[in-house]
């Protein structure tokens, strides 16, 4: 099983902006793996839309890394062609591209014509108008009808760009992955350990954490945990003000405030480093 993840790069800053999935089938597969992401597509005329969002699905960095580690992810650069390269490619291939598009249109028109003529014939037949005696009349009608059909043909706009498909979109996966690792830091360990305990994680900013964790699919369960940014097991103090605030909030939204300490910085690219984190779940005691 493999899912195509499009990596959006800020070329100037050499930074990864986001990881997007466009294929609905891929999104279904991810859901089954407990990777939910956030839908972020709006309708072009309603850019302020914030409900009923559509593809693309935006993944968290940790989700992308996890998928990559498990071998599910195929990374593709989304905007590598958006530069001078693109203009030259279009220029080089203009004749070819134009031919392709003319040909595709002709093909599409032809099949539409056939379909519509056939539909029309069936309709006449069903109405009993296609009999031998008024054959002459219907022949004329058919000719007339051809004109109507011709004006009703539509131009199909393909879903994928023909220009982009000409370009080399190969990705230095290693490079992308190492960037993601350095962006996530130790939070990835937290993500992976909770994922191994079958939690489904989502971004947690709404509840003042790095993640919120659901015990199963978010449509079936409420989340149980607000997971904080990872801290170092040996050296980082637990921020007590944040603990108090987070746990107090948690009593009203039924979530435990969870903090994880990471024991050591192992080789980041190593796939199979065992659990190195230790978690504590905090809730208000109900008094004081």
């Amino acid at each position: 099983m493999s899912v195509t993840i499009h990596i959006l790069l800020n070329k100037a800053a050499d930074e990864i902006v986001s990881q997007l999935v466009f294929d609905v089938e891929d999104i279904k597969k991810l859901r089954k793996l407990g990777i939910c992401g956030i839908l972020m597509g709006t309708l072009p005329p309603a850019s302020q839309q914030n409900v009923f969002l559509s593809v693309p699905l935006r993944l968290m960095m940790e989700e992308t890394l996890w998928l990559y580690e498990k071998g599910y992810a195929k990374l593709v650069l989304l905007n590598s062609p958006i530069d001078a390269n693109l203009a030259s490619k279009v220029h080089e291939n203009s004749v070819k591209l134009s031919n392709i598009s003319v040909e595709a249109n002709q093909k599409s028109f032809e099949s539409q014509r056939q379909y519509k003529t056939e539909q029309h014939r069936r309709k006449l037949e069903a109405l009993g108008l296609l009999t031998a005696e008024n054959n002459d009349k219907t022949a004329k009608d058919i000719q007339n009808n051809q004109k109507l059909i011709e004006s009703s043909l539509f131009v199909e706009i393909p879903n994928s760009s023909r220009i982009l498909s000409l370009l080399d979109k190969s990705t230095d996966e290693k490079d992308v992955i190492s960037k993601l690792y350095s962006n996530c830091g130790q939070n990835y360990h937290i993500f992976r350990d909770l994922k191994n305990q079958n939690y489904v994680l989502a971004p947690g900013a709404r509840f003042g954490g790095r993640f919120i964790a659901y015990p199963g699919d978010p449509l079936r369960f409420h989340s149980h945990l607000t997971v904080q940014n990872a801290i170092d097991y040996y050296n980082d103090p637990i921020d007590l003000l944040s603990l108090i605030g987070g746990s107090r909030l948690g009593t009203t939204v039924k979530k435990l405030w969870v903090i994880g300490g990471i024991k050591s910085e192992k080789d980041e690219t190593q796939v199979d480093n065992s659990s190195t984190s230790s978690f504590y779940s905090v809730e208000w005691a109900g008094f004081g």
Binding site: I231, I238, L243, E283, A285
Partner: protein, 129 residues
């Protein structure tokens, strides 16, 4: 200027709070301690006046509530108290019997206000209402 209570002051303050304000019983400062950043961390034990969480079973054959283990700490905005995850792990390992699932953190601010939080080791589910 933030005032930090000394360990023995903290212990006494939390003990009094539990005994006389929360009406707990048998509140005692334990003798065992672990050294931590130049401090001696001692736990308090005590029995609450009523069940603290709907998920708790009544331990003990006499139907009494289970003993809680309380760690008094200064609420330190500027992180002077320095409680780490390692520290909590050590407390669980060395100062608590094995069956204990949670510590009660008694967090004391510089004006004496004390708040109580359960710290469960590992991932825990929210309590039932």
């Amino acid at each position: 200027m933030e005032v930090l209570h000394k360990r023995h002051e903290l212990e006494e303050l939390v003990k009094n709070n539990l005994l006389h304000f929360q009406l707990w019983s048998n509140v005692q400062v334990q003798n065992e301690y672990i050294p931590w950043k130049g401090m001696e961390l001692r736990l308090l034990t005590g029995k609450p006046s009523q069940k603290l969480s709907n998920d708790d079973e009544n331990l003990g054959t006499d139907g009494t509530l289970m003993t809680e283990y309380i760690l008094p700490i200064n609420m330190s905005q500027y992180k002077t108290e320095f409680i780490t995850i390692q520290c909590l792990d050590m407390i669980f390992e060395k100062l608590c019997p094995e069956y204990v699932k949670r510590l009660v953190l008694a967090i004391v601010s510089d004006d004496g206000t004390t708040v109580f939080y359960f710290a469960y080791k590992g991932i825990h589910k929210p309590k039932r209402n």
